[in-house]
């Protein structure tokens, strides 16, 4: 009798294990900065929570996540994703920059619209900061779930400013002056020029921007008064006057020995190293750099303490007195592959990953900014708190499928001006011609 019972029990367990399916969901995420690994681990945690709920619901399946996190670089990651999309073997969930990728991938039919799920799970409507939906909406449909956002500050080295003779108070007031439009790009140039002249920094180390192409150039084009998108016609815009102002400023900066003529050498290592060695006076970067510096570059120098002692941040100044400063946010989003057989489950995982505690973990750990309304109330982190104020000045990239072409042409202009190949006037004409060629009637030149 006992033997029979045992047998029945075993059979039941066996039967249950047969009945319970395991559904594998694949997810690809990318930093490329190491600290952003929470983009992957948060998904893993979300799947754990989902499985706990499935157990309560007595569902006949569990979810297994096969996730990867890419730390090489964006080009490499996007190449992989594109090959995977085209070969019909893409992961169910893909994380990438909302702009311009949602525009590009939705146009190509690679990613699925998510409106149905956004309406089904209340957490999306209740928690996600409303303006972020604009960043993931393309032609009236939602194609992504906001994962994080960030700001791109103008950083300055406080110690070097002190050496230049600035008082503590002047240094602390700098962000306010920039916000009020009292400290412009021309003022920055003058200060940096003085620092080079007095030997406080080496020639070419007065102001640094990123060493390769990226969305930051849109931010600076805007800081110099440029408009990139025409809401009415849905076309991209190139304003010659704004571009000329920016190009001329770059030319002046190179001529004055403030900016290196070979700034666009693509060398991020050199960029981080010199900044964290305290050799650069002003530089434009991203909030996530703060986490990279803390965890990687300044590990032996005191990490965040070194940063608070030596580095300050503000939005990117305006080009004219009284103008509004800007910064740029390029939210990351989780998207679902249109060919996925498990869209429902993938969407449910995204509902679980949209949780304030996970959002907070990512924000603090990686130097990004939260995307959920109730996250700030549970975060106790000085950098996140202070840098969040920059969001008052933030702008987004337009979701236009051809934005990369605009960026490429603009970047060529920047590169030609800095290396001395073209004058600012010539560069503006070359960029306008190149954009017209590449974008045809998707562009308005003003």
């Amino acid at each position: 009798m006992r033997g029979l019972r045992l047998f029945v029990a075993l059979l039941a367990v066996f039967g249950l294990s047969l009945a319970q399916k395991t559904i594998v969901i694949k997810a690809w995420t990318v930093g490329p900065d190491d600290p952003s690994i929470t983009r992957m681990t948060n998904l893993e945690e979300a799947v754990n929570r989902l499985n706990a709920v499935l157990e309560k619901e007595n569902a006949d399946y569990r979810v297994k996540l096969e996730a990867s996190f890419d730390t090489t670089d964006w080009d490499n990651y996007l190449r992989r994703v594109l090959l995977a999309f085209q070969s019909g073997q893409a992961p169910d969930i893909v994380q990438a920059s909302a702009a311009p990728l949602i525009g590009v991938w939705a146009t190509a039919g690679f990613i699925a619209p998510l409106d149905e799920y956004v309406n089904r799970y209340p957490v999306f409507q209740l928690e996600v900061i409303p303006t972020l939906w604009n960043a993931v909406t393309f032609k009236g449909q939602v194609f992504g779930i906001p994962q994080d956002t960030e700001a791109r500050p103008l950083y300055f080295n406080k110690t070097l400013l002190k050496k230049l003779g600035w008082s503590e108070r002047q240094i602390n007031d700098l962000p306010k002056k920039i916000e009020a439009g009292e400290f412009t790009w021309d003022d920055l140039l003058a200060v940096a020029k003085e620092a080079v002249a007095k030997g406080v920094v080496q020639k070419g180390y007065g102001y640094w921007h990123r060493p390769k192409n990226g969305s930051d150039f849109i931010e600076w084009y805007r800081a110099f008064g440029g408009t990139i998108y025409d809401n009415q016609s849905g076309k991209l815009v190139f304003e010659k006057a704004a571009a000329k102002r920016y190009f001329s400023w770059l030319k002046k900066a190179v001529d004055a020995g403030v900016l290196r003529a070979d700034m666009l050498d693509g060398n991020w290592r050199n960029w981080h190293q010199n900044i964290t060695d305290g050799k650069v006076l002003f530089w434009s970067g991203g909030t996530w750099n703060w986490a990279e510096w803390t965890q990687q570059w300044l590990k032996d120098k005191g990490g965040q303490d070194w940063l608070w002692a030596n580095v300050g941040f503000a939005p990117q100044p305006s080009y004219k007195k009284g103008g509004k400063p800007v910064t740029l946010s390029s939210p990351q989003a989780y998207m679902i592959w249109s060919g996925s057989k498990n869209k429902e489950i993938a969407a449910r995982i995204l509902a679980f990953v949209t949780a304030p505690d996970l959002d907070a973990r990512h924000a603090v750990g990686s130097g990004h900014l939260p995307v959920l309304k109730s996250t700030p109330s549970i975060i106790d982190d000085r950098f996140t708190r202070e840098v969040s104020a920059l969001l008052n000045y933030t702008t987004f990239q337009p979701l236009h499928a051809d934005l990369p072409k605009w960026q490429e042409a603009f970047y060529r202009g920047v590169s030609a001006v800095e290396s001395g190949g073209l004058s600012p006037d010539q560069a503006v004409e070359v960029v306008a011609a190149e954009m017209k060629r590449a974008l045809k009637d998707e562009l308005i030149v003003r």
């Binding site: 490329p32 990867s68 730390t71 090489t72 073997q89 991020w268 290592r269």
Partner: protein, 275 residues
């Protein structure tokens, strides 16, 4: 007293100078993998086994465990070598011993095939694998790698078979052995040095292969060691200590293999029956 070529000291010095960069590079790899920091070739700080933590920590920052990559690499290299030796030796025997129409043209075409570098074929290969449903699989890359290497293998093995004397095979045939038996029992054992050389060559070449898996494998589960190593090459922050350790780990089997197999490798340049 071994026989030495004239002015052997000079030759030794020249060879030494040529080998120096490789030696220094390997030394740097060793030091960087073992110490906290290395300035030039001078270790600073203590011995640091933390650089090797990829061996005992399952996953380093989201990468698949190195054992998965190691297994894939071994599977990849061994299967490629096996297919290459098998196909090349049979094809070479047929070309060397049998007279069939278009033989010369065929040989010429094989040589042309070898003239294409793999990179120039990548896009076409991608489409073919996609159609076959082999994209993003290790098996697909194995087929591609093997087929790109086979032309060279055939030419190499043909040289070995050409050097065999025909009499022994003739004798076996007269005794009633089939063509297949002659190939297996008479010819193949005689070209053993050739097979070992080709096998070693194929194994090393597949072990170091990067561009094919890099392009044709997109998900982490099929990573080979080359891809694992590449993932440490970053845009900004590079953990050189760990990268050197992984590099050394990746190179170790090659060193061992080279020491064990160098005499077969040299055979590639001689070939045939001795004496």
């Amino acid at each position: 007293m071994p026989i030495r070529p004239p002015s052997w000291r000079l030759i030794l010095i020249v060879l030494g100078l040529i080998t120096l960069p490789i030696g220094v590079g390997t030394l740097w790899l060793l030091l960087t993998a073992l110490f906290n920091q290395v300035h030039g070739l001078l270790p600073v700080g203590n011995i640091n086994f933390g650089n090797w933590r990829f061996l005992w920590e399952g996953s380093i920052n989201g990468r698949p465990p190195i054992w998965v990559a190691l297994f894939n690499s071994i599977l990849f290299a061994a299967t490629v070598a096996f297919i290459e030796v098998l196909v090349a030796s049979m094809a070479a025997y047929a070309i060397s011993r049998m007279n069939f129409p278009g033989r010369r043209l065929y040989l010429g075409m094989i040589l042309v095939l070898h003239a294409f570098p793999a990179v120039s074929l990548l896009i076409a290969i991608y489409y073919i694998l996609r159609v076959l449903g082999l994209f993003d699989t290790l098996f697909g890359v194995i087929l591609v790698k093997a087929s790109l290497e086979i032309p060279l293998g055939i030419w190499l093995m043909k040289g070995f078979f050409d050097n065999l004397s025909w009499e022994m095979e003739m004798a076996a045939l007269v005794d009633g052995a089939s063509r297949w038996t002659v190939f297996r029992k008479v010819a193949l054992p005689l070209v053993r040095p050739g097979i070992l050389a080709l096998g070693t060559f194929a194994l090393l070449s597949a072990w170091g292969e990067f561009i094919l898996p890099y392009t044709l494998i997109v998900s982490g589960k099929s990573w080979t060691l080359a891809l694992y190593l590449q993932s440490f090459l970053r845009e900004s922050f590079v953990d050189y200590g760990m990268m050197a350790a992984v590099g050394l780990f990746y190179a170790l089997p090659v060193f061992v293999f080279f020491l064990l197999g160098q005499k077969y490798l040299l055979n590639i340049y001689s070939g045939g029956v001795k004496g």
